[in-house]
C-alpha cells in the first residue's frame, strides 16, 4: 500500500440517514469512580469509556451517582429550561431583526448548568460562547444579558462586543472572547495565581472540540500539568465545529479526554447530556483541584442540536434533524424523567415551569427593549468608544474622540 491522504468524514451528509454508530458508549454506572487523590495512571479507562449515571430507564446508577437531593436537581432543571427558553426566544428576536447575531446551546445545556452547579461561587469560570447556562446558574439578570445582546443603552459591554460575549467580574464569569480557545490557558494562569496566593478557589474553563486544535489547548494542558494548577479543563464535544465533524478536529482516532493522561492529567470522558454525570465529574475534579490534586481534563460528549449560529445553515452539511437520533438524548428530557422517576416532578409541573420561564423571559425582553436596540437605539454615548482602551485615555485617543465629534457635527 502507498501513503494516501486520509480525509476524515462525518458518518452522514445531507440526504443520508444519520448514523451514530461511531460513538463509543459505556453502559450507565459501569465505570469506577477513583478516589479524589488517585493517580491519573490508574484511571485510563475513564478517558476512553463514558462516565454515565442515568440509565435508559432514567434511574441513577453506579459509583458516580452524586446523590443530590431532589430540590437541587429541580434547581438544575430550572436553569437548563431557562437556558433553552432564553435561547429559543433570542433566535426568534434575531430573525425579527432585533439582534445582529445569536448562538444557541440547545441540546448541550447540561454541560454548563451541571458544571456550574457543582462549583462554588468563588470559583472563576472561563467559558466559551456556548455556555450561557453558566450565566443562568450564577444568576445573571436576564435583562442584563439581553441588553448585551441588544447593544443598547444598558449593554454591559458598552456596545463593544458581539452578542453573547458576556462577562461579570462580580459573578466571576470571565469575559468571553471571539478568538477560540484563548481562555483555556488563561484559566490555567488564573489557577496558578490562586495556588501561588494559597487561595482555594479554583478555575474552570470550556472550549469546543473543534477549538482543541488551537495552540492554546496544548499550552493549557501543559502548564496545568507542569505546575499542578487547580483548574478544570472542559472540552465540549458537540460533534461539530461549524461544518466540520469532530474527526477533523482529531476525534476520529482517539477521544479528546485521552489527551489528559498523555500530559499526566486525569482525563474523564463524560456523557454530556447526563446532568448527574456532568455534575459528578465536575465535582470530582473540583474536589481534587481544591485539595492540591491539580488539573483534570473533562470531555463532555454531547450534540449541537441547533445551527452553529444565526449565520449558519446546518442543512447544507448534515442530515436534517439528526439530533433527534442522537444516542445520548436530550439533557433536559433526561433529567426531567429522572425527577419524575424519583417522584419529585411531573409533566404538568414541567409544563408550568416552561410557561413560567417563558413568561419571565418575555417580560425581561420587554424591559430590555425599553433600553433600546442596536438598530433603533437608544445606544450608549458614542464617546464611550474611546474609553477602556487604556485605563486612562491618552492624548491621541482624546484627539480622535474630538475628531469624531466634529465629524458628527457636534
Amino acid at each position: 500500500m502507498k501513503p494516501r491522504l486520509h480525509v476524515p468524514a462525518p458518518p452522514a451528509r445531507p440526504g443520508q440517514a444519520p448514523d451514530f454508530s461511531y460513538l463509543q458508549l459505556s453502559p450507565a454506572g459501569e465505570l469506577p469512580r477513583p478516589e479524589i487523590g488517585a493517580s491519573w495512571r490508574d484511571m485510563g479507562q475513564l478517558a476512553t469509556g463514558l462516565v454515565r449515571v442515568l440509565d435508559d430507564s432514567h434511574h441513577a446508577v453506579g459509583a458516580w451517582h452524586p446523590h443530590l437531593d431532589a430540590h437541587e436537581l429541580q434547581v438544575g432543571l430550572r436553569h437548563m429550561v431557562l437556558t433553552r427558553v432564553f435561547d429559543d426566544r433570542m433566535v426568534r428576536t434575531q430573525r425579527q431583526g432585533k439582534l445582529s447575531f445569536y448562538m444557541k446551546s440547545t441540546g448541550e445545556e447540561a454541560v454548563a448548568v451541571a458544571a456550574g452547579m457543582a462549583l462554588q461561587p468563588g470559583d472563576m469560570l472561563f467559558p466559551a460562547y456556548r455556555q450561557q447556562g453558566l450565566q443562568m446558574v450564577r444568576g445573571q439578570p436576564l435583562v442584563d444579558l439581553m441588553c448585551q445582546l441588544l447593544s443598547n443603552s444598558r449593554d454591559m459591554c458598552k456596545g463593544r462586543q458581539l452578542p453573547v460575549m458576556y462577562h461579570s467580574a462580580k459573578a466571576r464569569l470571565f469575559s468571553i472572547s471571539g478568538n477560540l480557545a484563548t481562555q483555556f490557558p488563561q484559566a490555567v494562569g488564573w489557577a496558578m495565581a490562586a495556588a501561588i496566593k494559597g487561595e482555594d478557589h479554583i478555575a474552570a474553563t470550556w472550549t469546543g472540540e473543534g477549538s482543541t486544535a488551537e495552540a492554546d489547548f496544548h499550552h493549557a494542558l501543559l502548564f496545568a500539568s507542569v505546575y499542578g494548577a487547580p483548574v478544570i479543563l472542559n472540552v465540549v464535544n458537540n460533534q461539530w465545529a461549524i461544518s466540520t465533524f469532530q474527526g477533523t478536529a482529531g476525534g476520529e482516532q482517539n477521544t479528546f479526554a485521552a489527551r489528559g493522561p498523555a500530559y499526566g492529567l486525569p482525563g474523564l470522558r463524560v456523557d454530556g447530556n447526563d446532568y448527574l454525570a456532568v455534575y459528578a465529574a465536575t465535582r470530582w475534579a473540583a474536589d481534587r483541584a481544591r485539595t492540591g490534586g491539580g488539573a483534570t481534563l473533562i470531555e463532555l460528549v454531547t450534540y449541537r442540536a441547533a445551527a452553529h449560529s444565526t449565520s449558519d445553515d446546518p442543512s447544507r452539511y448534515r442530515p436534517r434533524n439528526d439530533h433527534e437520533l442522537w444516542p445520548l438524548g436530550d439533557p433536559i428530557e433526561r433529567l426531567k424523567q429522572h425527577l419524575i422517576k424519583l417522584g419529585a416532578w411531573s409533566e404538568s409541573k414541567h409544563e408550568a415551569l416552561v410557561a413560567e420561564l417563558d413568561a419571565q423571559v418575555a417580560s425581561a425582553w420587554k424591559e430590555a427593549l425599553t433600553y433600546g436596540t442596536l438598530n433603533e437605539g437608544p445606544r450608549l454615548d458614542r464617546d464611550l468608544m474611546f474609553d477602556d482602551v487604556f485605563k486612562e485615555m491618552p492624548e491621541h485617543l482624546r484627539r480622535e474622540r474630538d475628531m469624531l465629534r466634529r465629524e458628527l457635527g457636534q
Binding site: 462586543q161 477560540l180 477549538s211 461549524i242 461544518s243 445606544r379 482602551v389
Partner: protein, 338 residues
C-alpha cells in the same frame, strides 16, 4: 466576460488555477464540503476532490505550517484564514518561516503559499470579525500583499498570487464581497453588476503585483486608498465636487511608489485612506513615502483618514468606520491647506 461578485471572482480564480495546475490545493476551516463560510470555495471539493480541497482543524498556525511544507514539496497551497482577525495564531509561521525561508536558505527552499483572508468591517462583525491587519504583514519583509477593491482585480490578483513563487497574502474586504460600498450603510445595497469592475473575464488572466490603479484621473487632489475605502473615497470626492485623482493602491507590497508619487507631485495635495487603525497603520508608510518624494510639490500637509485607535466596536461600527464624512473633512483640510 460575465457578471461576478467578488466571491464568484475569487472562486473562479481558484477553479481556473486548480484546473490548469494539479499542484494547486486549497485548505482551510470549512472550505471543503461546505465551501467556506463566505462560500468562496463553493464547489471546489466536489470538482477537484478531497485530496485537493481540505477541511482542516481549527488551527491557523497548523494550516500555514502545513501549507509551507506542501509548498516545499512542490504544491501551490491556497490557504484560507476564516477571518483576518484570526490570523494571529499563524503569525509566527508566516513571519518567521514563510516570509524567511527563501532568504535563509539562499534561495534553495521556498514555499509558494497564498494566504487568503476576509478583512474589514461593515458587516456588524464586532471587534473580532472586522480587523484590517495589513500593516502587521507589510512590515515583514518577504511577503507580497494585496487588497483588491473589486471582482476584476480580486480574480486577477488571486491567480497572480497562486502562480507567484513568493508567498502572498490576499486581504479580501468582506464588505465588498457582494457589491461595491460607498460608506453609507443607510443606502440600499448595490450588487456588483452595477459596477464596471463586476464585469470579469471567465478565463484565465492576472493582475500584476506592484501596480496601483488610477481609478479616476483628477487634478486638484490625490486620494490614495485601497479596499473598501476606494469606493468611499470616490463618493466623498464626488460629493465634495472636487476633481480628485483617486488611486487604488491594490498591491501593498511591492508598492507602486511611482504611480502614487507622480500623482501627488502633480496635484500637490494628498489624502490617504484606510480602514485599519491609524496609529502606525499602513497610511503612515504611505504618508512618509509621499512626503519623501513629493515634499517640494506639497501645498498642504498630507491627511490620513483611518479607523480610530480602538478595537472595532460592534454597536459603533459606523462611528468607527472611516466613512464619507471623515474623508470629506480630510479633503476640506487638504484643500484649505491646513
Amino acid at each position: 466576460m460575465a457578471q461576478m461578485n467578488m466571491i464568484q471572482a475569487l472562486n473562479s480564480a481558484m477553479d481556473i488555477s486548480m484546473g490548469r495546475d494539479p499542484s494547486v490545493v486549497v485548505l482551510g476551516q470549512d472550505v471543503g464540503f461546505f465551501g467556506g463560510v463566505f462560500r468562496c470555495t463553493d464547489g471546489l471539493q466536489r470538482k477537484y476532490g478531497e485530496q485537493r480541497v481540505l477541511d482542516t482543524p481549527i488551527a491557523e498556525g497548523g494550516i500555514i505550517a502545513a501549507a509551507i511544507g506542501m509548498g516545499v514539496n512542490g504544491l501551490r497551497p491556497v490557504a484560507e484564514v476564516q477571518f483576518a482577525d484570526y490570523v494571529y495564531p499563524a503569525y509566527d509561521q508566516i513571519v518567521s518561516e514563510l516570509a524567511r525561508l527563501r532568504y535563509r536558505s539562499a534561495g534553495e527552499f521556498y514555499a509558494p503559499v497564498t494566504v487568503r483572508m476576509p478583512c474589514g468591517g461593515g458587516i456588524r462583525g464586532g471587534q473580532t470579525h472586522s480587523q484590517s491587519p495589513e500593516v502587521l504583514f507589510a512590515h515583514v519583509c518577504g511577503l507580497k500583499i494585496a487588497m483588491p477593491s473589486n471582482p476584476y482585480d480580486a480574480k486577477g490578483l488571486l491567480i497572480a498570487a497562486i502562480e507567484d513563487d513568493d508567498p502572498v497574502i490576499l486581504f479580501e474586504p468582506k464588505r465588498l464581497y457582494n457589491g461595491p460600498f460607498d460608506g453609507d450603510p443607510t443606502k440600499p445595497a448595490v450588487p456588483w453588476n452595477t459596477h464596471a469592475k463586476g464585469e470579469v473575464p471567465i478565463e484565465h488572466y492576472t493582475v500584476p503585483f506592484g501596480r496601483a490603479e488610477i481609478v479616476r484621473a483628477g487634478s486638484q487632489v490625490t486620494v490614495i486608498a485601497y479596499g473598501t475605502m476606494v469606493h468611499v473615497a470616490e463618493a466623498a470626492a464626488a460629493a465634495a465636487g472636487l476633481d480628485a485623482e483617486i488611486i487604488d493602491v491594490r498591491s501593498i507590497v511591492p508598492l507602486d511608489v511611482d504611480t502614487l508619487c507622480s500623482s501627488v507631485c502633480k496635484t500637490g495635495r494628498c489624502v490617504i485612506a484606510h480602514e485599519a487603525t491609524r496609529f502606525a497603520g499602513f497610511g503612515a508608510e504611505l504618508a512618509a513615502t509621499v512626503m519623501e518624494h513629493c515634499f517640494w510639490n506639497l501645498e498642504a500637509p498630507i491627511q490620513r483618514v483611518a479607523g480610530w485607535d480602538t478595537p472595532y466596536p460592534h454597536a459603533f461600527e459606523w462611528e468607527y468606520f472611516p466613512g464619507q464624512a471623515r474623508v470629506a473633512m480630510a479633503l476640506k483640510a487638504v484643500m484649505e491647506g491646513r
